[in-house]
Symmetry: C2
Subunit: 387 residues, 2 copies
């Protein structure tokens, strides 16, 4: 489809890219100078990625540097309702489709000489690519629609980003929620997307149907129920796809907190704070009784304190607190090179064990959280806290 254009400099591409993306050429040159348009060379086709949102170009937008550059626009931020009733009244005039929000990691998939899967931040992930290649084997979607991009959530235990199992996808599943033009990022309408999902039998998140702002109470109840089933929440989509809103259950928020407080010095404080505030708004909007609020508060407190104490105990006993997960790879070599890939992303992971069988190679990985381990160790040894 295209020749690798190694001899060309990045700057040679900028006029063409600026034109394709509809952005001023000087502006793009400036963005490139600031380092926000990062060149990734270690891929078979070198690519540029927007590390941050810039002038309506989404964070994670990728440009593959072929003779004719190929684009994968970043997935737009979906905004979160804090008070569902009011947010729907304000932002959703007409009917909207309600779908389940799955708790995994956002993956865009495009086709250039083959399947390529990108993380939210615009990194080609060899591990995800390999698995999605397998999932989409024999599927004609990209043959018929080469300019479209599949956007979906990868869930399951076997990945290095967000390990949560679902009954429908214990180890690795990919559920499509949006289909977009890869160059403009424009989503196809809800109806068109539903049609394409059906036509190509693409797996998708559960579709609860069409609702209106008047159904806020029912949706709150639905979110509550999803939470009780240890699921995350909902995404609401206007039928023209011009508005999307997410809303998640307190139970799921508690799970995030449990996780973050296992590694308290490695997670951002605002990550925690935002979740505490969210829980209060949801408890308020649900109109919980005093007793129910207390129960909600107890659960919240336990999601904070218990993981922290467990981590302190573990470190006090001389062990390291780590995050352990498994990945399934075709062979040992690709397992090792994937760990290297994670290191480039700033994830400090090491291989714990490799189990080879005829069918697959399972690599057990440990992710390390040095700040949490070092800080807690220092306190345990008597170091002061300065506040």
């Amino acid at each position: 489809m295209f020749a690798r254009a190694k001899a060309m400099e990045v700057t040679d591409y900028l006029p063409r890219i600026a034109k394709d993306l509809g952005i001023d050429q000087n502006r793009l040159a400036e963005i490139h100078k600031t380092g926000n348009l990062q060149l990734v060379k270690d891929h078979i086709v070198p690519y540029l990625r927007f590390k941050r949102e810039e002038h309506d170009i989404e964070e994670g937008t990728v440009v593959f540097l072929a003779d004719n550059p190929v684009y994968a626009r970043g997935f737009p931020k979906i905004r979160r309702a804090m008070v569902l009733r009011s947010a729907l009244k304000k932002h959703m005039r007409d009917g909207f489709q309600v779908e389940e929000k799955l708790d995994g990691y956002n993956v865009r998939t495009i086709y250039i000489d083959g399947i390529l899967s990108l993380t939210r931040k615009g990194i080609v992930c060899p591990y995800t690519t390999q698995h999605i290649k397998t999932l989409l084997k024999g599927n004609n979607f990209f043959k018929d629609n080469p300019e479209l991009m599949l956007c979906g959530e990868v869930v399951g235990l076997e990945n290095p980003y967000q390990t949560k199992s679902y009954p429908e996808a214990r180890d690795f599943g990919y559920f499509i929620f949006d289909i977009r033009d890869r160059t403009t990022g424009k989503a196809v309408s809800v109806a068109e997307r539903n049609k394409l999902l059906k036509k190509y039998s693409l797996p998708s998140a559960h579709n609860f149907g069409i609702f209106t702002a008047k159904d806020a109470g029912r949706l709150l109840g639905l979110v509550r129920k999803l939470g009780n089933d240890t699921r995350e929440g909902l995404v609401l989509k206007s039928l023209d796809m011009k508005q999307q809103i997410k809303y998640t259950a307190n139970r799921s928020t508690n799970n995030d907190l449990k996780y973050a407080f296992k590694f308290p010095f490695d997670y951002g404080q605002s990550f925690m704070f935002r979740r505490l505030v969210r829980e209060a708004f949801q408890a308020y909007e649900l109109g919980l009784s005093k007793k129910e609020i207390e129960k909600e508060a107890d659960r919240l407190g336990r999601s904070i304190l218990i993981p922290m104490i467990d981590t302190i105990k573990k470190i006090a006993s001389g062990k390291e607190t780590t995050e352990d997960f498994k990945i399934s790879v075709p062979d040992v070599e690709s397992g090792k090179s994937f760990i290297e890939h994670l290191k480039h992303l700033g994830v400090h992971a090491t291989i714990e064990k490799i189990s080879e069988s005829k069918r697959e190679t399972i690599v057990s990985v440990k992710r390390h959280y040095p700040s949490t381990n070092d800080k807690i160790k220092a306190y345990l040894e008597g170091e002061f806290c300065s506040d």
Copy 2:
């Protein structure tokens, strides 16, 4: 004692101040240029204050610009033990005196033509000064020891900084914990301080006596007991005053959190985060059982969620959430000028009511928290959260 030297420029004082404080003259000039040495002109004697710690000069150090400058060195940071046993073993080789830490605000008092009381950050507080003047009326401490500085905690309901009542000081009490040379900041020894407190009948925080690092278990129990009595914790002082360590009860930490989560968008996220971590370390060190940890966690969760929900409810009902307190002043005029003084400190307060009697004038004050009120109102009206 000194003439007001209005005609002199601040820079004229710098060589003398540098000499007195033992700091390089050019360094001090630089600090002055950065704005960290702030001139406060609205006091009867203009003064300079160190807004931050600089080259061993403590934050809140004040220099009164008389012909012979008068100093009030800032109160040093007392470091906090996270794990009491280890901190004592590491930092307290010998016996140390254990005193109660009261939960109020830190006030240094010196004498220059009269009593002057300073907040931690080095602001002359007219309200505190007036009350401490009354408390120390007829006391000869400063007559006999003009170069010394009293350092203590103001507690009680009637103040604008930290309103917490104690049985021994419902409205306003001043409890001395350190006595220091006002120019060098050097503390007199524990024995000497105990002697001076006794000689001049100065009120002081409760003294639990002399302990050693081996008593950590007993001290943990004592802190726990203080917490259950809704008191804050302990300060441990080496007998030569070269080392001080603070340690406070989880119950007291919970009270801080309750307060902060009433105004979640006005308090720093690190204020909250540090307290969550503290609670985990204390629960760990106390060796609590699973059941006890759950109880501790429930209490923590309730200190976070319930105040936030109460605040959301209040704002949803169209009211403003504020902090209300009373101050006792000699007359209406001084009440009003004190509110002005608070405004200069960045505290947005308004007078709610004034009750005059023969004995005193009580001003009811409302402190406003605009970020919390605005942000919650916006969410209630359907504004998105961007995360």
